[in-house]
């Protein structure tokens, strides 16, 4: 099983990312210990040069992470024919107990790497490296998570046994099963629709207010994260149904398939991008009073807010368009 080209590809990517991040985190720790901006010593100059390397590594890490998240789902989807009972990614991921944790870790790591890059970008705009401690502290959280992800991913691939009979989206996201997937799928679609459109509208209003007046950034960040969760749950609960035009097929992965015009990628990309910038807005709030950043942060926050609003609106637009254009209606 392990020789599948995609599994090899994912494993190589994981190894590379781990290697780079351990290296970066190692230097990050050194920077945390020895940093002294007032000094013009050679050690300090060397550390400052290292910060460039770490930024580059993290930028590539984010790109690798996002690609590998999608390749992972794609691969799980592609492998489904190998398992009895699997009809799409949902089934392949359920083959052993590592599949879903890896997926969730990949999403979390994407979000964290995105936030790190936002913090890093702001840090480089202040003339006294104002966020250096925060930044490398965050790196020390991210690195172990990426390592954990790699280990679990190896475990997942090693434990892929073709003779396992798995349960797929039909039962995993079936409304009458008592599992997390089932619970989400079982959320009543009527109230869920109201919740989704409600919180989306609220987030947009708060975002516009923040964009115009600069007030309520924290609330906006909070709501954008909430929207991410609600939208993800809505995907399972009712949005998918409109794409499949089936009243009981709740699978969040089948929409990534060709039959549905790969629309899933647009949905997930907009959602993930929106969440990263939304989180970015919040993560910058504690530093906005810092003298070297007082002018920089509000501008960046406004831009991030705009990105979140545009991406979330795009997501809503795709969903609404589908709900209106299909002849399918939920009873």
């Amino acid at each position: 099983m392990i020789q599948h080209p995609a599994i090899l590809a994912l494993s190589i990517a994981s190894l590379l990312t781990c290697f780079m991040l351990v290296y970066a985190a190692g230097y990050g720790t050194r920077i945390l210990e020895k940093w002294d901006l007032q000094s013009g010593s050679e050690l300090q100059l060397e550390l400052e040069r290292r910060t460039y390397l770490i930024s580059v590594i993290l930028s590539y890490t984010l790109v690798f992470q996002i690609l590998s998240l999608f390749l992972y789902i794609f691969t799980a989807d592609n492998l489904h024919s190998q398992f009895t009972g699997a009809m799409c990614a949902a089934g392949s991921l359920a083959v052993n107990s590592y599949g879903y944790p890896v997926l969730i870790l990949k999403i979390i790591n994407c979000l964290l790497a995105g936030v790190w890059l936002i913090v890093n970008h702001v840090d480089t705009r202040g003339y006294d490296y104002p966020l250096i401690k925060t930044k490398y502290g965050l790196l020390n959280i991210l690195a172990p998570l990426i390592l954990l992800e790699a280990v679990l991913q190896f475990a997942y691939f090693l434990n892929l046994k073709a003779d396992v009979i798995t349960s797929c989206c039909g039962s995993l996201f079936s409304t009458d099963k008592r599992s997390i997937g089932g619970e989400i799928a079982g959320l009543p679609s009527g109230p869920m629709q109201q919740a989704f459109f409600g919180i989306m509208a609220l987030t947009v209003v708060i975002g516009v207010v923040f964009y115009l007046t600069g007030k309520g950034g924290g609330i906006f960040s909070l709501f954008s994260s909430l929207t991410f969760v609600v939208a993800a749950a809505s995907l399972v609960s009712f949005i998918c149904l409109y794409f499949y035009e089936l009243p009981s097929h709740h699978c969040p992965f089948c929409i990534l398939q060709k039959e549905y015009g790969y629309v899933g990628y647009a949905l997930y990309a907009t959602l993930l991008g929106g969440a990263i910038s939304g989180l970015g807005v919040g993560s910058l709030i504690p530093f906005s009073s810092h003298p070297s950043l007082s002018r920089v942060i509000p501008a960046i926050q406004r831009r991030l807010t705009l990105v979140t609003l545009v991406l979330y609106l795009l997501f809503t637009l795709i969903v609404t368009w589908r709900m209106l254009s299909t002849s399918f209606t939920l009873g």
Partner: protein
């Protein structure tokens, strides 16, 4: 107007001019890179096309095949089994099938013999696959002599030759009548190789299979989905072996790329020193290196993929079909049907561009962090 976009286009512009200035160095890198992409892409396309081909063939296969087993070996199944199986609820039809293999000592080739369901061939006539025709150098209306299991010659007239569009499975095929088949192997009538069962509701396939196994403990029902899986893992395994070998190739490529990237010429180092001294910042130089990498990677990727596409789908993967196909002397010389999708391209990207990029990060950074005053002290 000053804008980040301008900065990118300006630096990209300079990256292109730098690449062109160091033609020989970059050309050798590009050639090796393209070759790696080409080989891995050929492999991925090829395995995918084979899987597609097999899936296509299996699509016409019956939902369920019932074999009789004696002492753990496949044995002939009596037609009476079929009658009882058709009585099971949910079974739409049961077709007894006759098929087998024949080894031709003169040509040293293995043929697959098959009796069609609807009797398209009369006794004394056969239909053959393109591979058989090539191997035996015969055409329509020629005679083919097979030896029966009692060592008597059996003369058969070629009625038709299968087109070579999907040769992988049909290439070594000889289709003959039930009478000739029984004559060939001296089979008693009413005995068949296996039974093909179709089930009305796909969801009931497993139930039907269980019932058959209960009814006839000496039989083995095989589901179509199981066959698909076996095919898949077979190709996966064969492809996997190659991929492991290729992983070594990728590794050596990484070392090569690393070496190329760290082995900055004195000229290049001086140039970066000059750029730093006249106001380029470390991240500008990193940007420059990034664009250089992108240009090289994309060029190698595109050229490699296009070459691999031609290799696999127009030249039938001439370079490694021996390693991957070949369970028979009769070599399928078929054109694979092009199946390339975003998934394969992503996998390819992961196997080639990602390692290259990772290998060049640190060398690029080392080059970019030349102190700006270095140019003043030369």
């Amino acid at each position: 107007m000053n804008s980040p976009l301008n900065r990118h286009t300006n630096i990209l512009d300079f990256a292109l001019s730098s690449l062109l200035r160091r033609k020989s160095k970059n050309l050798s890198l590009l050639v090796v890179y393209t070759l790696i992409v080409f080989v891995i892409a050929s492999l991925i396309f090829f395995v995918q096309a084979l899987k597609h081909e097999a899936a296509q063939t299996l699509a016409e296969a019956p939902d369920l095949v019932v074999q009789r087993m004696i002492a753990g070996r496949h044995d002939l199944i009596p037609a009476t089994y079929g009658e009882q199986i058709s009585a099971i609820r949910g079974v739409r039809s049961v077709t007894p099938r006759l098929w087998g293999y024949y080894y031709d000592q003169v040509f040293g080739a293995n043929y697959t013999l098959l009796v069609p369901e609807n009797g398209v061939v009369e006794p004394g006539s056969i239909m053959i696959g393109a591979g058989v025709a090539r191997n035996q150098r015969i055409k329509i209306d020629d005679m083919l002599t097979l030896k029966t299991s009692r060592n008597a010659p059996l003369l058969l007239t070629v009625q038709g030759i299968y087109p070579s569009s999907s040769e992988l499975i049909s290439s070594d095929l000889i289709v003959l009548s039930a009478e000739d088949f029984q004559e060939m192997f001296h089979l008693p009538p009413g005995q068949f190789t296996d039974l093909a069962v179709t089930v009305a509701n796909p969801r009931e396939q497993v139930t039907v299979a269980t019932k058959i196994a209960e009814l006839f403990p000496d039989t083995r029902p095989i589901l179509k989905s199981e066959m698909l899986r076996t095919y898949d893992s077979l190709f996966e395994w064969r492809g996997g072996m190659m991929v492991v070998i290729l992983a070594v190739a990728v590794l050596s490529f990484i070392i090569f790329a690393w070496d190329k990237a760290t082995g900055l010429s004195a000229e290049e180092r001086k140039e970066i020193g000059i750029l730093k001294s006249i106001g380029w910042e470390t991240s500008d130089v990193l940007q420059l290196k990034f664009w250089e990498g992108i240009v090289i990677s994309l060029t190698a990727f595109l050229v490699g993929v296009v070459l691999a596409y031609g290799h696999v789908f127009f030249f039938s993967a001439a370079l490694f079909e021996h390693a991957l196909k070949g369970w028979s002397v009769i070599y399928p010389q078929f054109r694979l049907i092009p199946v390339v999708d975003a998934y394969q391209l992503t996998v390819l990207f992961f196997l080639t561009v990602l390692p290259y990029t990772a290998a060049t990060i640190i060398p690029a950074w080392l080059a970019a962090t030349v102190p700006p005053d270095a140019a003043m002290r030369s």
